[in-house]
Structures are given as structure tokens and as C-alpha cells.
């Protein structure tokens, strides 16, 4: 089970508590992971990536295994620890409010 942690405002929008679980086949990439998140929660389309270009929104960042993957290719394979669910894929929003 692939584990994804959304920022609080997107958890509210998607009506989820805690982590999001995904079952995916094939090579796991940022693109396939985010496609799956958006397929499961259509209300999140356009929040993490631009609706049209699918480019990451500038105030959103992606982390995994202690690394900032925000500027990696969206088609690059994600670490095995994410694919196996031993580590979560973190979607972090800019700090809004302070």
C-alpha cells in the first residue's frame, strides 16, 4: 500500500483523515502517484498541479525519504520505500498564515 500524506487544507477538501492509501501497478513516479490521488479524490485536481500543464503548483512541495523531490522529473521513479509503503510520500504546502 502506497502511503500519501496530504497537507491539512487538502485533507479538509478531500474529506480524509490521516494518510491516503493507494494500490498501483507499474513503475511508481510522481506523475502516476498524483494521477492516482486525483482519480480517487477529483476535488484535488488543480490544487497540487496546474489543471492544464500538470506542473506542480509553486506553493506545493513533494518530499520522500527525507529528500525534497519537488524539482525532480515527474516521470522519474520514486524510491522503493515509497512503492513498498515503508515511507510515506509527503505533499507539503507553503506555510499559510504566518
Amino acid at each position: 500500500m502506497i502511503r500519501v500524506i496530504l497537507p491539512p487544507n487538502l485533507r479538509t477538501l478531500a474529506h480524509v483523515d490521516g494518510e491516503v492509501g493507494l494500490e498501483l501497478n507499474g513503475t511508481l513516479t510522481q506523475r502516476s502517484l498524483l494521477d492516482a490521488v486525483e482519480a480517487k479524490y477529483p476535488m484535488l485536481r488543480g490544487t497540487m498541479r496546474d489543471h492544464v500543464t500538470q506542473v506542480r503548483r509553486p506553493m506545493v512541495r513533494f518530499f520522500a525519504c527525507g529528500e525534497d523531490l519537488s524539482h525532480e522529473s515527474s516521470d522519474a521513479p520514486l524510491p522503493d520505500a515509497i512503492a513498498y509503503g515503508t515511507e510515506p510520500f509527503l505533499i507539503i504546502g507553503a506555510i499559510a498564515g504566518g
Binding site: 491539512p8 507539503i92 499559510a96 498564515g97 504566518g98
Partner: protein, 310 residues
């Protein structure tokens, strides 16, 4: 000054120190998207007069840096050791900008200064500003990749009572925190607050365990819970809080109270004052029991300072 009150001299110059003596290439910090970004002076967030010399004043600025003037504000020099801290390239702005908003001067130790930055955290020097270290142990921020990171916490404000400079009270992005070792470690004292998000925090002038905060609903909804404007007071140094409501609007109030917009006076009983983003300034002459609006229809109130005249 000109006849219309404008200064005749040149504008204040806040120039970041990039001299070799700093020993660091003080060139970039982290931007919202994680890329590195050059330091750019934008504005002064807070001025803190020296405790000893009327011509000596500190300025906390955006992008986060600490300056001082020893000639009454004519010229400013950066205390570059702060930005030169090893963690500097990891600092990133909060939504309000990467501002240095809190400057606490230790009345017992002129070499010790504590500061806070959104969203880098709190830092302290014990050698008059030459070297600095992060003082964020115990802070837990779920909105950053490593919730217990050394830096990256969005500290909104820190307050200190001058009789107990080792005791610090912090309003963080979420959580109200307390340290009894000058920031060496922090413990949460949010207790029964309706929300532990907020901006200002202050300490009673004569009771070092009496603390004031203004809870705000959330980081995305900047107004008091249920539209009721309430100051919360703890007489136990945190954890146990009571709402102060008399004279404050208790319905349909959707203002915010910004981090520098609360102050206390030195009278007995202690006066407490705060301003809102709706342009009101409220005052209590009895330590928060009763409130009255003393000013209205201002622009959003950014800062409230009090001076008691003899």
C-alpha cells in the same frame, strides 16, 4: 523635518553584510518552492530600543536579518552572524514573508539576545550577536517535512517578563509554548484554549506567570473562533486559560490581531492593549477584566506600543 512632517534626510539604508569578515556567502535562502533565493530587503517589522542607551536600537527586517543603530537611527549595521548561521540557507518565508519580528533583550545579560523569524524559528546569541544558535528543541510542526526539525518552525511571537528572562512564552503557527531555560527546550502550554493558532502573546507587567493570547480559528481562517473576539489569560504560566470577553464583540467579529499588535503598560493594575485588522484598538485598565475600544476606523493595526507618562 519638512513642514508636512517628512524627514529631510536620505532614506534609512539597510544593506545586508556580505563582507569577507562575515565568513559566509550570505547570498541565498530558501524560497517557497524550495529553490534558493537571494536576500532582499523589503521592510522593517520591529524596532527594539536598547535597555541602556537611547541612541542604540535594534531592527528586525524582512528578508530576515537583525540590524542595529548606535546613532539614533542615522545609520544601520547588520549583525550578520545571525544570517551566517549554518542553517541560514534553510530558512524560508511564511505567507507573511520571511520576517524577523521578535527581539528580546536580556536585562540581566547584555550579551544575550533572542529573536524569532517566520518561518525559520527562534535563535539566541550569548556573545552580543557575533554567533547564534537555533533554540527550537521541543517545537513540533506538522506542516513541515520533518516536524521536529532544527529550523523551519513558524514562530509568530515570543514574550518575556523582564524579571524572569529565562522564561519565554511563544505563540507558534499552531501551539502556545513555554521555555524555562531561555529557549533551550520548549513545552506546550496550550491547555484548554479553543484554538492554539494565533499571533500575539504578552506577559502581565507585574505577574510573570500571567500571559495573554488571542486565539484565531486556523491558519486558513484568520478570525476568532465563532466570530467572538476574546483575549485568553492564564494566571498559571499556561495550560489553564480563561476567556476575557467584557467589552469585546461577542458576535459577528471577523478581525485578526497581528503579532506586534498587543502591548502592556507599567501601571498597577496593569493595562493591556491590542489592535485589530479592522482598525480598532481595545484597552483594558484592569489586566484584561474589562475592555473598551479607544480608537476605531484605523487601517489594519500592525503594531501597538504603550508608554505610561508620569
Amino acid at each position: 523635518m519638512t513642514s508636512d512632517g517628512m524627514p529631510k534626510g536620505e532614506s534609512n539604508m539597510f544593506v545586508y553584510d556580505a563582507s569577507p569578515e562575515s565568513g559566509k556567502p550570505l547570498t541565498t535562502h530558501q524560497w517557497y518552492d524550495g529553490t534558493q533565493h537571494p536576500w532582499e530587503f523589503k521592510r522593517v517589522w520591529h524596532l527594539e530600543p536598547s535597555l541602556h542607551d537611547p541612541d542604540h536600537v535594534y531592527a528586525g527586517v524582512e528578508d530576515a536579518a537583525l540590524f542595529q543603530s548606535k546613532d539614533g537611527g542615522k545609520s544601520w549595521q547588520e549583525l550578520a552572524g545571525l544570517r551566517g548561521n549554518d542553517t541560514g540557507p534553510k530558512w524560508q518565508p511564511g505567507a507573511g514573508g520571511m520576517c524577523l519580528h521578535t527581539i528580546l533583550l536580556d536585562p540581566n545579560n547584555p550579551e544575550r539576545i533572542s529573536i524569532a523569524i517566520s518561518a525559520a524559528g527562534a535563535f539566541r546569541t550569548d556573545d552580543g550577536g557575533k554567533t547564534w544558535k537555533p533554540i527550537n528543541r521541543g517545537l513540533h510542526s506538522q506542516y513541515i517535512p520533518d516536524p521536529n526539525a532544527e529550523v523551519g518552525h513558524c514562530v509568530h511571537r515570543i514574550a518575556m517578563h523582564p524579571s524572569r528572562p529565562n522564561t519565554l512564552f511563544m505563540q507558534k503557527h499552531w501551539d502556545v509554548m513555554r521555555s524555562d531555560d531561555a529557549g533551550g527546550s520548549w513545552n506546550e502550554v496550550s491547555g484548554n484554549l479553543p484554538s492554539d493558532f494565533g499571533f500575539p502573546i504578552d506577559v502581565h507587567a507585574h505577574e510573570p506567570e500571567t500571559v495573554y493570547v488571542v486565539p484565531i480559528k486556523s491558519d486558513s481562517e484568520h478570525y476568532p473562533p465563532s466570530g467572538r473576539l476574546r483575549v485568553y489569560r492564564s494566571r498559571t504560566g499556561g495550560n489553564e486559560w480563561e476567556p476575557l470577553t467584557k467589552g469585546l464583540p461577542q458576535r459577528n467579529c471577523y478581525v485578526n490581531v497581528l503579532r506586534d499588535a498587543m502591548s502592556v503598560d507599567s501601571l498597577d493594575p496593569c493595562g493591556v492593549y491590542f489592535g485589530t485588522t479592522g482598525g480598532q484598538v481595545y484597552a483594558s485598565v484592569d489586566a484584561g477584566d474589562n475592555w473598551k475600544p479607544i480608537v476605531r476606523d484605523l487601517p489594519a493595526v500592525l503594531s501597538v506600543e504603550v508608554q505610561a507618562l508620569p
